[in-house]
């Protein structure tokens, strides 16, 4: 009887060690996933190696500003944005990518998504800029190549109206747009302005 109790207790303990609640699995793990879940449940919280390893040499490699067409994968899910096109630039330390299109659930709502990364510190922000009922948006004018400064992109609505995305403030304005529009996004780390965000030759010049 004691043996039975011990076995039962062990089964109980092993079930808990799967971190099953962590992954949402109730009770025993599905057979196909059992080994992987056991591995996940067995991770320590310390390393046996207590010495730091040498970090890689920091690589400062700029990405010339470029348009992103349909061949380039988009990280923004279709539920958020139906992408028309995108634009990307990096000075090797910071990166900004802008995706233009319409809201995933309403093609009449124009939407821009701005992704910024600090490639040195590792942090990233995602910000949505929604100029309301403009119809789908597309980037119509943007600086290309190696840039000293980038400040703005020219955005075109489906009706041909031109807007301006200010990358210093992530706001959109246009001659017939009466207000700047910006989501109340819960962005926790906004990267500071940097030289690569300034335009050396503004769109439309």
């Amino acid at each position: 009887m004691l043996r039975l109790l011990t076995v039962a207790a062990c089964v109980l303990a092993v079930g808990g060690a799967f971190a099953i609640p962590r992954l949402g699995f109730a009770g025993s793990a599905p057979p196909d996933k059992a080994a992987a879940l056991r591995r996940l449940g067995a991770i320590a919280t310390t390393d046996s190696n207590t010495k730091p390893v040498a970090p890689p040499d920091p690589v400062v490699r700029s990405i010339p500003a470029r348009m992103l067409g349909p061949d380039a994968p988009t990280p923004i899910p279709p539920a958020v944005l139906r992408v028309r096109n995108g634009w990307l630039a990096s000075d090797g330390r910071t990166l900004v990518a802008v995706y233009a299109g319409s809201a995933g659930d309403d093609p009449s709502v124009g939407r821009l998504v701005v992704v910024r990364q600090n490639l040195v510190s590792g942090n990233q922000t995602v910000r949505i800029v929604a100029p309301d009922t403009t119809g789908a948006l597309a980037i119509a004018g943007a600086p290309l190549g190696l840039l000293a400064k980038t400040a703005a992109l020219r955005i075109r609505t489906t009706r041909g109206r031109l807007l301006r995305l200010d990358l210093d403030t992530d706001t959109v304005a246009g001659s017939t747009l009466t207000r700047s529009s910006r989501t109340a996004a819960t962005v926790t780390h906004r990267l500071p302005p940097r030289s690569s965000d300034q335009v050396s030759h503004p769109p439309g010049r």
Partner: protein
């Protein structure tokens, strides 16, 4: 004594039968889209991501460090990898090197808890890129193999607080269900890594439990397949309340027609309709006790 034995046996049986206790709302952890220019730059930024993740990691549990390397691709006759968000291609060898630097960064900056470092990709335009179903199967196979190689690296370096797995952003709108399933099948055939499915159930029904249509010819059953077959585990994108409704339909259909279905947690983002915590709570409220305590967040 006999009564005690019966009680314990009942408890064990109960664990196998009833939903687990609902996890508390987790704190979000950062996930990253990978933009690279060269393999060296990829490794450099991956190291920074690993360190940044470790320094900010909340709590003492295992958390997913998700690096999304872009779309799965066959680069040449014998080389698989990904095309990242800057439109640069990287082989799995390049990606493994970057993942190893992420592991180094996590080790150097480790404060508490542990990490599951995950090689993420997507099904973006697989067919349009010229990949066949067989190519995609091998993409999944080699992705799992790469995760296993990362785990070997972690073990060889004494990084006991880490492990490695794989993930894919398999969006219905981005390619057909039939070819996307090959990513999951190949990954399952290799058989080592969990395969977190972090995407939306785009266009799927928002209520009921029927196998209704989703975008691009997919059905709820297809979404269920790529998120639960083999080693796949759903980590759904919940950006708006509708996403939680759609995934609940998928869960109900799969549970009724295939097998038990649980969510590993939630993938969230800043700047969308739901905050990360609200996203987790929304899915949890519709699937009580079936949502694990992971909350990966792009933009956090």
């Amino acid at each position: 004594m006999r009564r005690a034995a019966v009680l314990l046996a009942s408890l064990v049986a109960g664990l196998a039968t009833f939903p687990g206790a609902a996890a508390a709302t987790p704190a979000p952890v950062a996930a990253w889209y990978v933009y690279g220019s060269t393999p060296a730059a990829l490794s450099s930024s991956a190291y920074a991501h690993g360190c940044d993740f470790a320094k900010a990691q909340p709590g003492a549990g295992v958390r997913i460090l998700l690096l999304d390397f872009g779309a799965a691709r066959k680069l040449n006759s014998n080389t698989w990898g990904a095309i990242d968000f800057s439109n640069a291609t990287f082989s799995n060898a390049d990606i493994l090197a970057a993942l190893e630097r992420a592991a180094d960064g996590y080790h150097n900056c480790h404060v508490r808890g542990s990490a599951d470092i995950v090689y993420g990709n997507s099904n973006y335009h697989l067919t349009a890129s010229g990949m066949s179903s067989t190519d995609v199967w091998y993409a999944g196979y080699h992705q799992s193999e790469t995760a296993q190689a990362l785990s070997s690296y972690q073990a060889s370096k004494g990084y006991g607080s880490q492990t490695a797995d794989a993930a894919s952003d398999m969006e219905p709108s981005w390619d057909a269900a039939s070819i996307t399933k090959q990513l999951v099948n190949g990954e399952a055939a290799q058989g080592w890594a969990l395969y977190y499915d972090f995407r939306s159930a785009d266009g799927c029904p928002q209520s009921g439990s029927a196998d209704g249509p989703c975008n691009n010819g997919w059905h709820a059953s297809d979404v269920g397949y790529v998120s639960d077959h083999g080693l796949a585990v759903p980590l759904p994108e919940i950006y708006y309340p509708v996403n939680a409704n759609q995934w609940t339909v998928v869960r109900k259909w799969w549970t009724a027609n295939q097998s038990r279905y649980s969510f590993a947690g939630v993938t969230a983002s800043t700047g969308v309709g739901l905050t990360p915590v609200a996203a987790w709570n929304t899915l949890g409220s519709l699937n009580s006790g079936l949502v694990g305590s992971e909350l990966a967040c792009f933009g956090c």
